[in-house]
């Protein structure tokens, strides 16, 4: 039996009219281009470029819109509960949505490829063999990312997100990133990755396939949770490690201090991922109480299933920060963490992450706060930018440094301790909030 979710999407995506119109329009377009170009010796090249452009528009842009709406519409039209209660397994639901909601786009994309491949062969440039699979993988990656993202952020408070606005940000980000990647990789010289030399385009293809697989996997994981197949959060930190390994591969192997480079890249990646999940996951008091209850019952599997994602990458961030402070593998060998400001910076940064997590939780646990994420963000901007700037221009450098001790002015130990103190204060506020909630509950 055909996957019901895929079949439902086919019903919605196709009609006889659409089935005929897509090939007719694309073939007409290709013919018109070929005929208008008949005196040029670059007809095949131009046809290839036009087909690829059409593919990008139909599959990437239009397809991304449809993938975006496949979840947004379910949530908006209140059909999501029915899907959550269905007997479909998460993988069937994932691929049914992934390829079903974009089936019409893949239909058009396949026609574009059917034009591009012979055009590429005639043009005599073998680049199409690497380019086209990369374009297909990017399309899948984009669609899967949007499905995962929309489901993950489905409970967020912002209307922009509820209407799929975040999807459009991802679409724009992907287009820009792909452009940058293409600019880097399209150059004919070889690229070295972890000591392996390969043509730039091949690296681009492998990269898109890798991230395509990661995106489909993440969509499957998010759908699994939505369909009540509980998972424990190992995939998110693993993805952070994959990203770290991937990006480090381009620079760490060439560096004299590979561990130092890896730790810095890892820290940046885990920080971005921690902030991303910190603001996108619901961190409500009942969720916290659930964790507490699981812990009291020694139900560690349940505890892990209820654990948000951000603590996993926060923990990794501390690991990377400490890894980067190893004296043996640093540009300034022989100096330890406490003595060298350059080495202490990541540790201070990791404490900053912890402090910010505490601030977000403090506002999220408030019974009165209606938009805890937005309020926390506002306070973080004040704390990390406005206040340090204000105290600096007011000549109170020490106060400014205490708030944002990422510089080198008073030494590494002072910087780390200042940020650790802030983190302890933030966690203290969270503890106070929890105590207040217990008192309110008892009353």
């Amino acid at each position: 039996m055909m996957n019901p979710e895929f079949k439902r999407n086919l019903w919605l995506s196709f009609s006889t009219h659409k089935l005929i119109a897509m090939p007719a329009l694309l073939t007409l377009g290709a013919l018109a281009l070929a005929m208008s170009d008949k005196f040029s010796d670059r007809t095949a090249d131009n046809l290839y470029t036009a087909a690829v452009s059409a593919f990008i528009f139909i599959v990437w842009l239009w397809g991304a819109r449809n993938a975006n709406l496949s979840i947004v519409d379910e949530l908006r039209d209140k059909t999501w509960d029915q899907q959550r209660m269905s007997a479909l397994n998460p993988w069937a639901m994932t691929w049914g949505k992934l390829f079903g909601s974009t089936s019409f786009n893949w239909y058009g994309g396949a026609i574009c490829l059917a034009i591009a491949i012979p055009a590429g062969i005639i043009a005599g440039d073998k680049a199409w063999m690497l380019d086209l699979p990369a374009f297909v993988a990017t399309g899948i990656m984009l669609h899967a990312t949007l499905i995962a993202l929309n489901l993950h952020t489905g409970q967020m408070e912002m209307q922009l997100i509820q209407r799929g606005g975040l999807g459009w940000i991802v679409i724009i980000f992907t287009l820009i990133s792909f452009n940058i990647f293409t600019d880097v990789f399209i150059i004919e010289h070889d690229i070295t990755w972890w000591g392996i030399q390969a043509p730039g385009k091949l690296v681009l293809l492998y990269s898109t396939v890798l991230f395509g697989i990661c995106a489909v996997f993440s969509a499957w994981r998010v759908v699994s949770n939505a369909l009540q197949v509980r998972t424990i959060p190992w995939a998110w930190p693993l993805f952070a490690l994959i990203l770290t390994a991937y990006f480090s591969g381009f620079s760490a192997s060439a560096s004299e201090y590979p561990v130092f480079v890896i730790s810095r890249i890892g820290l940046v990646i885990t920080a971005v991922m921690t902030y991303g999940t910190l603001f996108s996951e619901p961190a409500r008091l009942p969720d916290w109480n659930m964790l507490r209850l699981r812990q009291q019952r020694n139900d560690w599997r349940g505890w892990l299933q209820n654990l948000p994602l951000w603590p996993t990458t926060l923990l990794l961030a501390f690991c990377f920060a400490l890894l980067g402070s190893l004296p043996a593998d640093n540009p300034q060998t022989g100096l330890g963490l406490i003595y060298e400001p350059f080495l202490a910076l990541p540790v201070g940064f990791a404490f900053m992450l912890l402090r910010d997590a505490g601030i977000v939780l403090f506002f999220s646990f408030s019974p009165k706060s209606k938009r805890p994420g937005s309020v926390a963000l506002l306070y973080l901007i004040v704390l990390d930018a406005l206040l340090p700037f204000f105290f600096k221009v007011a000549g109170l450098d020490a106060v400014s440094y205490f708030l944002l001790p990422l510089g080198n002015k008073y030494g590494a130990a002072v910087g780390v301790m200042a940020m650790a103190t802030q983190a302890i204060i933030a966690l203290g506020l969270v503890a106070w909030r929890l105590q207040q909630s217990k008192l309110a509950e008892a009353a």
Partner: protein
């Protein structure tokens, strides 16, 4: 069929369900009643496995909902208060999708669609898109989606809201039919008169707690085998005292021109009492069995709850 124990569910700053324990009998139609914000929808969503409670256990058909929600879904149908339909699909496609996604074998799907459409009087609408249907018909399609896999338990959250009287009546007939087929129904509604038509049990909730959970078949007042309302044509101050002297009678309410009593015994005892009343010179205008309706039952349980709170 449904067994809930110590169920607690929190929303931020608000406890929606507070240590709820209850049982729903197999083959019953339980009216879930309570004011807005009482926790009815949350309770249903917890039973459906769509929300995870803070604590407590929910058992449906012998299966733990919290541990095995997907297994429970196989035997359960759920219609949420704000249900949605795929507007651009035809009724037949909606039903086919529901059947297939609930795991029905491909060969069994056409028959299931036919039967469900027949049950819901949708046979002549199968090729219409669901977006083009009226509210009542859409409601029927949504119910069809919930019952097409013949669940053993059906949860319906405000199924009659927005329906006209004819459609409500149709719904009542359907629910009775589903009950007769052996299905256990839990139905929440604000329209108690409508629930009265088909409910066998009352489950009353308020402030996240269960006020009352009992069978409605024995609709007589508690503590008596039969409830009677006596109405006199003219006020008679002797009525209460006279009734108090009669054996096997419990007075629940009495005035000079009417009384509500519980009487032990059968119809003969009832007929004997009537004869005695007439003989004693009371101008009996009516002497009828009294059945408490759902509205009265609910209000009484609320009143008892409020009294206990004071």
């Amino acid at each position: 069929m449904i067994k809930i124990s110590g169920l607690t569910f929190d929303y931020p700053g608000h406890r929606a369900l507070n240590n709820v324990s209850l049982t729903v009998e197999p083959g019953s139609v339980t009216a879930l009643v309570g004011p807005n914000g009482a926790g009815k929808t949350t309770l249903m969503r917890c039973i459906a496995g769509l929300e995870t409670p803070l604590s407590g256990s929910i058992n449906v058909g012998g299966m733990d909902v919290i541990e095995h929600p997907r297994e429970v879904h196989r035997i359960m149908g759920y219609l949420s208060d704000f249900f949605g339909l795929y507007q651009e699909l035809t009724v037949a496609q909606c039903l086919e999708y529901a059947a297939a996604s609930q795991g029905l074998a491909e060969a069994a799907i056409p028959a299931a669609i036919r039967m469900t459409a027949q049950q819901l009087d949708l046979s002549d609408r199968l090729q219409q898109t669901s977006g083009s249907l009226s509210r009542g018909l859409r409601q029927r399609v949504a119910i069809g989606q919930a019952i097409i896999h013949k669940p053993r338990v059906l949860l319906l959250d405000e199924p009659a809201s927005g329906l006209d009287p004819e459609a409500r009546n149709h719904l009542a007939v359907l629910f009775r039919q589903l009950q007769a087929d052996g299905m256990t129904l839990l139905v929440s509604s604000h329209i108690l008169a409508e629930l009265d038509e088909y409910s066998t049990h009352l489950l009353s909730v308020r402030d996240g707690r269960v006020l009352e959970n009992r069978a409605l078949q024995a609709t007589h007042l508690p503590g008596a085998s039969r409830s009677l309302r006596i109405t006199l044509a003219a006020p008679d101050s002797r009525l209460a005292d006279w009734l108090a002297q009669q054996p096997g009678i419990e007075i629940h309410d009495s005035g000079e021109d009417q009384a509500l009593i519980g009487i032990e015994g059968d119809l003969l005892a009832q007929s004997g009492l009537l004869a005695e009343l007439v003989k004693a010179g009371f101008a009996v205008a009516s002497f009828a069995e009294y059945k408490e309706n759902l509205q009265q039952s609910y209000l009484r349980s609320v009143a008892t709850h409020l009294e206990n709170m004071q």
